[in-house]
């Protein structure tokens, strides 16, 4: 049974990766932060009595569900917006396209021993990796991040994604191949 301290440590260790996962999916900083907060609250409210070892797959499942719920709500909202915008002259354009490259801080104030050129190149590579991850199909990205970044095993990833272990392996393999190909095409080895 997880104590408050354990819960706090678990969330502190997970929150940044959770934020990035949500951000790759929704591509909006505020929305991603809201989703992570919702997931944290649900975990604490409903599953605080679970053993510490179960928290990671549970939290991932909650977060993924929150992301799906967000997309469902967006779909409904978009439907109504489309319907209503046909009555207004000009209509409303989508302005949610946040470029992940813009998200990286330009001057974080660390990495002092690094030359400006190296730093810029590293930032560029990171930006490219993030962009390519954002471009992956949702399920592939989810499987890849859960399996390799969150280091869940195949069974835990399958439980978090609500699919079979075979699907997890397939998604992971396709995601890795797609990423490797995309990075090679952009000159990153």
């Amino acid at each position: 049974m997880a104590t408050r301290q354990e819960l706090s440590e678990f969330l502190a260790a997970t929150e940044r990766r959770a934020f990035k996962q949500a951000f790759y999916a929704v591509r909006n900083e505020e929305t991603a932060l809201d989703l992570v907060q919702d997931a944290m609250t649900r975990l604490v409210e409903r599953y605080a009595d679970r053993p510490e070892g179960e928290l990671a797959p549970l939290f991932q499942r909650i977060l993924q569900n929150a992301i799906y719920d967000h997309f469902r709500r967006e779909k409904v909202r978009r439907l109504w917006t489309t319907l209503l915008s046909s009555f207004t002259p000009g209509g409303a354009g989508d302005s949610d396209d946040t470029d992940p490259l813009d998200f990286i801080e330009t001057d974080p104030g660390h990495g002092m021993g690094e030359s400006a050129g190296d730093k810029a190149e590293r930032q560029q590579v990171l930006g490219i990796i993030e962009t390519e991850i954002s471009r992956l199909p949702n399920r592939q990205r989810e499987a890849f991040l859960l399996r390799y970044w969150e280091e869940l095993d195949v069974a835990e990833t399958a439980a978090a994604m609500g699919c079979s272990e075979g699907s997890v392996k397939t998604h992971c393999s396709r995601a890795t191949r797609a990423l490797a190909r995309a990075l090679r095409d952009r000159g990153i080895k």
């Binding site: 049974m1 104590t3 408050r4 301290q5 819960l7 706090s8 969330l11 502190a12 929150e15 940044r16 990766r17 934020f19 990035k20 900083e29 932060l33 992570v36 907060q37 944290m40 609250t41 975990l43 604490v44 409210e45 605080a48 009595d49 998200f103 990286i104 801080e105 974080p108 660390h110 590293r122 590579v125 990171l126 990796i129 993030e130 991850i133 890849f144 399996r147 390799y148 970044w149 992971c172 393999s173 890795t176 191949r177 990423l179 490797a180 990075l183």
Partner: protein, 135 residues
């Protein structure tokens, strides 16, 4: 292609990027964590401390399973379904009745008036019926 190795390299790069999250994001995440922890059901550490002193199991601090509440939560769904079906039936019945009345009125107004044999007008009851319907 060595899949885990490639994935590992990508994930290391992602980990590196985590350290560069803007201050506003890390602050917001910390605030979100604190807000979530503030909603924890009950302090478990006190129960644990009592349990260490006395080996008898501590009384359950967290609220009892809300089986009744979950049952009640689903109650409105069938009630709403029945109400909705009732409304549909009422509308269908009302619409059917109205169509029947319209058809009857049409029969009286056109068909019956056109094809009534002359002898019918000699009938006293038919005269009363016509007077009543045209009033």
């Amino acid at each position: 292609m060595n899949e885990p190795a490639i994935a590992g390299r990508i994930c290391r790069a992602l980990d590196e990027e985590l350290g560069q999250l803007p201050e506003r994001v890390t602050a917001r995440l910390a605030a979100a964590r604190e807000a979530a922890l503030a909603r924890a059901p009950a302090p478990r550490n006190q129960a644990g401390a009592r349990g260490a002193a006395a080996p008898t199991p501590a009384p359950a601090v967290r609220p009892a399973p809300r089986s009744d509440a979950t049952w009640l939560r689903w109650l409105p769904a069938p009630v709403a379904t029945v109400l909705f079906a009732g409304c549909l039936l009422a509308v269908w019945h009302w619409s059917d009745l109205r169509h029947a009345q319209e058809r009857a009125a049409l029969d009286v107004a056109i068909l019956l008036a056109d094809e009534v044999p002359l002898a019918a007008y000699a009938d006293k009851g038919f005269g009363v019926y016509l007077r009543n319907t045209h009033r």
